[in-house]
Amino acid sequence: MKRLKRDIVVIGSGPAGLCAAIEAARSGAAVLLVDENAKIGGQLFKQIHKFFGSADHRAGVRGIDIGEQLLRQAEELAVEVWLNCEACGIFDEKTVWMVRDKEHSVAVEAQRIIIATGAVENSINFPGWTLPGVMGAGAAQTMINIHRVLPGHRVLMVGSGNVGVIVSYQLLQAGATVAAIVEAAPNLGGYGVHTAKVRRAGVPFYTSHTVKEARGNGHVERAVLVKLDSQWNQVPGSEFEVEVDTICIATGLTPAVELAFGSGCRPFNSPPLGGLVPVHDRMMKSSIDSIYIAGDVSGVEEASTAMEEGRIAGLSAAHSLGTITDQMFAERLEQLQHNVDALRSGMFGQKRREAKDAIVRSYGVER
């Protein structure tokens, strides 16, 4: 097996990994960015909507355009990129074992590793949930925005958070009918700006409702919806059917932590951020000195936050190798932490801010 050496290996080329690689390279480190997919960018290029936040966070710019800008930056900085490259394990806290092109086994000894493996969509289970036609909302988004294939014509969206309403709107733009959006909670979950667009387009919302069953012969033909009481129990007799050929599940994401935990990073349970995450400090360092994490794997938030976290991880990893001065590091870190704090400010950010603080506190206490 080939053995190579690099300053920093970044695993995952989504918004967090891409920004980590750019920041580390800009700070003078030799960076290798790897991704199992054939294209760089993770899920960024299917985000055709405008991002949130302030001007500092590129708010108002579409995810796909941010992706193009980042790709150019990575090219200008000569970041080394390996695509079709699966990171299978990390040994001795510094050797990344990878399989390239499903054929060649390669081990790269890295002084620092940044894990940016992202997250996986949650599912909910109900009779019929395995029928073709039931899929993650992200899968439908990939189909329409990346592959330009409509996954179905009449869609039920389960979950009214930002993913649910944004994908619903994009499905409408792609030519599908969104028959309904159901939300188990009594209140809608997404930002008003996106929710209102879908509502104005005439899509009915059902709060305190969920999908009880998917029916159909070999494919989804109907969904049975049911009302939920204040204790989230199904109300008998309140069932009704909607005719749909597709049911999209938008019920949150779970951090993709396998690689991090497999390499020995200590876990912390953070339900508001998607469950178990590798514990980390404000510099995005994990419980292992040579391993940093960033983006959804460190707690599910938005792409804007993932990008800022990625920059912090890349900057900190490079600084720990001595490629930039303490002063340069301190100045840039302050700026980046200001940006990330701003994204977690206000009433929408409060829960995420508190959850992140709890992770960082646990890092200090138990280390």
Binding site: V120, L131, M135, G138, A139, M143, R148, V149, G218
Partner: protein
């Protein structure tokens, strides 16, 4: 465009697109059947994580069709259970 052979039938696919997208564009939504009850399965996550969309491709079983690009003349088969090497 490229030609792919799906369960013995020729279908047209766009060069560079994923097998799953090509099949759905051609109206095929069942990609495999489960081992015991032969229940149909299609795509679920669409990004290579869940493995619900695996098929036998060029004789190799359990290929994730949502992250595998079509190629000219590719032979794609609906997979039963865990499939067989051919």
């Amino acid at each position: 465009m490229v030609d792919i052979i799906v369960d013995g039938q020729v279908m047209q696919a766009r060069k560079g697109e994923m097998i799953a997208a090509a099949l759905m564009a051609n109206g095929k939504n069942t990609f495999r059947k489960t081992v015991k009850r032969e229940e149909p399965r299609g795509i679920y996550c669409g990004i290579g994580r869940c493995t619900d969309c695996v098929m036998t491709v060029n004789g190799i079983p359990n290929v994730r069709t949502c992250v595998t690009e079509v190629e000219e003349g590719m032979v794609i088969q609906t997979q039963i259970g865990s499939g067989e090497w051919q």
